[in-house]
């Protein structure tokens, strides 16, 4: 009985030690080890306990290691996110463009400093207020408002006028895009440019241009009257004094008449230039082959005198255009081709036309003196011909051609080299709606 009591007590003690050991291990002391005291089941348990403790220790260490790694990664990601957020925030806030974010009612939740500066209210005043409250009373913001309020997706462009606190009315050109927030609500982020100044400059430019053209027109017109008198009076003088004029007088009279004629032509040209694009020009269907042949006939005297071989392509498109304008275009180009023939070359002029899906294309080729490439850029400018004194002309013909073509959305250009002839090309867009 005593033996069994003692055995129980020893067993109990060892179990208590095991229990205490388990408590220590569970408290985190993985270095705790139980000393084996015999060779029985309890001892087996103790050994298993010790082995488990070691495994636990390793697992715990691994776990801790993983935790540290994880925390490191979280730290890195957080830093990256903060950096990215700071980056985009600083981009948004320092951007010269206006950035404004609104919800589907148009209430502002985001405004960058450029937007705040323009509007002139503080961030606190802006956020939560309604964007449409800053829209001008004109209808310029209607489509932008519609884009925000209606069920739109994607992105779109709008110009609208905003009323600001300090800068008056500003015209803003917006690029707006629909996004959805984490709750799936529609938001609109818009990036805008203040184009008020650009518009003002463009208008100024237009006005200045108009002034210059009006000036050009009135000067040419006012000079036209005395020029007409001059020509008429010279005519009368010539008729009356024919028999009294000797060869010397004849020479000077002819020079005076020629100069008066040039002035008159110049003024007509200037008047013509300032008229292009003004007023309505009736368009009719024109057979370009007929038109060009008529122009050739008008210039037949000179063509025969210079023995020019003229060839006009039979297959040329009929186009809708103002007849007098198209006449001016071809007449000027053909007269140029006739004028600038070169010595010792049998002169030749070839004219043709074709059409693509979108354009009519015409060419006027001559094998004349050609134009040095350095003049190609300036040749359409007013009076550029005056640089080359050896050839007569008013220097306004090509300006008229270019004005007419440009005014009708077309292009005119040339291929030429000095001594190798010239080809002028005219491209006119086909009318979309007839």
């Amino acid at each position: 009985m005593l033996v069994s009591l003692l055995l129980v007590e020893r067993l109990t003690n060892r179990i208590i030690l095991l229990k205490e050991g388990a408590e220590k291990v569970s408290a985190g002391d993985y270095s705790f080890k139980l000393a084996p005291k015999g060779n029985d089941e309890i001892d087996d348990l103790t050994k298993t306990f010790n082995k488990m403790t070691v495994e636990l220790k390793t697992m715990r260490a691994e776990l801790e290691n993983q935790n540290i790694q994880l925390e490191k990664k979280v730290d890195e990601r957080t830093k990256e996110l903060i950096a990215a957020k700071e980056f985009s925030e600083s981009v948004i806030s320092t951007a010269a463009s206006l950035v404004v974010g609104v919800d589907k009612e148009g209430d502002i939740f985001l405004a960058n400093s450029a937007f705040i500066d323009i509007i002139g209210y503080s961030n606190d005043e802006l956020v939560g207020s309604n964007l449409f409250g800053y829209f001008d009373h004109d209808a310029s913001g209607d489509s932008f408002r519609g884009f925000i309020l209606d069920d739109n997706i994607g992105a779109a462009h709008f110009d609208c006028v905003l009323r600001t606190k300090k800068h008056g009315r500003r015209t803003i050109s917006w690029e707006a895009a629909v996004i959805t927030d984490e709750e799936g609500e529609k938001l609109v982020i818009s990036i805008g440019q203040d184009i008020t100044e650009r518009i003002r400059l463009q208008e100024n430019l237009r006005e200045r241009r108009k002034e210059i053209e009006t000036f050009l027109y009135s000067v040419s017109h006012d000079l036209k009257n005395p020029t007409i008198s001059l020509i008429g009076l010279l005519d009368m003088f010539e008729q009356d004094s024919l028999k009294d004029i000797d060869d010397n007088g004849r020479f000077y009279l002819d020079r005076i008449k020629a100069n008066a004629g040039t002035i008159n032509e110049l003024l007509s040209g200037l008047l013509e230039v300032s008229r292009i694009g003004k007023g309505k020009e009736t368009k009719t269907l024109i057979d370009t082959h007929d038109l060009i042949n008529n122009i050739i006939k008008e210039n037949e005297l000179l063509i025969r005198e210079k023995k020019i071989d003229v060839h006009v392509d039979n297959n040329m498109p009929a186009i809708r255009f103002s007849k007098i304008r198209l006449y001016q275009v071809f007449s000027n180009l053909i007269k140029n081709a006739i004028k600038f023939t070169q010595l010792n070359v049998e002169p030749e002029i070839r004219i043709g036309g074709d059409e693509t899906e979108t354009e009519y294309l015409f060419y006027i080729f001559d094998n004349g003196i050609g134009i040095d490439e350095e003049y190609h850029a300036t040749i359409f400018e007013m009076f550029s011909r005056l640089m080359e004194k050896e050839v007569e002309g008013t220097g306004i013909g090509l300006t008229i051609v270019q004005r007419i073509i440009k005014d009708n959305g077309g292009r005119v250009w040339l291929k030429s080299r000095k001594g190798e002839g010239t080809t002028f090309y005219v491209a006119l867009p086909k009318e979309v709606d007839i």
Partner: protein, 152 residues
């Protein structure tokens, strides 16, 4: 109708152009009486027999009007409009005088009822060509006998 009964009214403000037009016509053999007024208002006063113009002998009603487009006080266009809208005046042929061929201006004159136009300086050649075109030639020249049945 008597040839010399055809008075021409010239409405022109530029004295040189008046001189040249009169000379141009005279040298071509147009012997009609040409009355000259210098602005648009005066032209209307003449046609409506106002003030001094209320004198059929000194200022006979014209059978033809040469009307400059650019005029002081009332432009040639305005005068043309008044003439062509007036039942009593609209049958008088009106030839517009222009300094340069301006398609739009010419189209506008025609839409207001102008009968023709001449580019200045007015020469006999262009004048008679225009008359012929208007089939009005018989009235204003002594170089050809009056033709019968040509008036449109």
């Amino acid at each position: 109708m008597m040839v010399n009964a055809c008075t021409i009214l010239l409405v022109e403000d530029n004295p040189d152009h008046v001189l040249l037009t009169l000379e141009g016509l005279k040298r071509g053999g147009v012997i009609n009486v040409v009355k000259v007024v210098n602005d648009g208002q005066e032209a209307l006063d003449y046609l409506y027999r106002r003030d001094k113009f209320d004198d059929d002998e000194a200022y006979p009603m014209p059978a033809l009007i040469l009307l400059d487009i650019k005029l002081p006080k009332k432009s040639g266009m305005e005068v043309l409009k008044v003439i062509k809208e007036d039942e009593n005046l609209k049958n008088i042929p009106v030839i517009m005088l222009t300094t340069s061929k301006n398609e739009e201006e010419i189209a506008r004159s025609y839409s207001y009822g102008a009968n023709s136009y001449i580019t200045k300086p007015v020469t006999f050649k262009e004048f008679t060509a225009t008359m012929k075109e208007m089939q009005f030639y018989w009235c204003v020249t002594n170089t050809l006998p009056p033709q019968t049945g040509t008036r449109a």
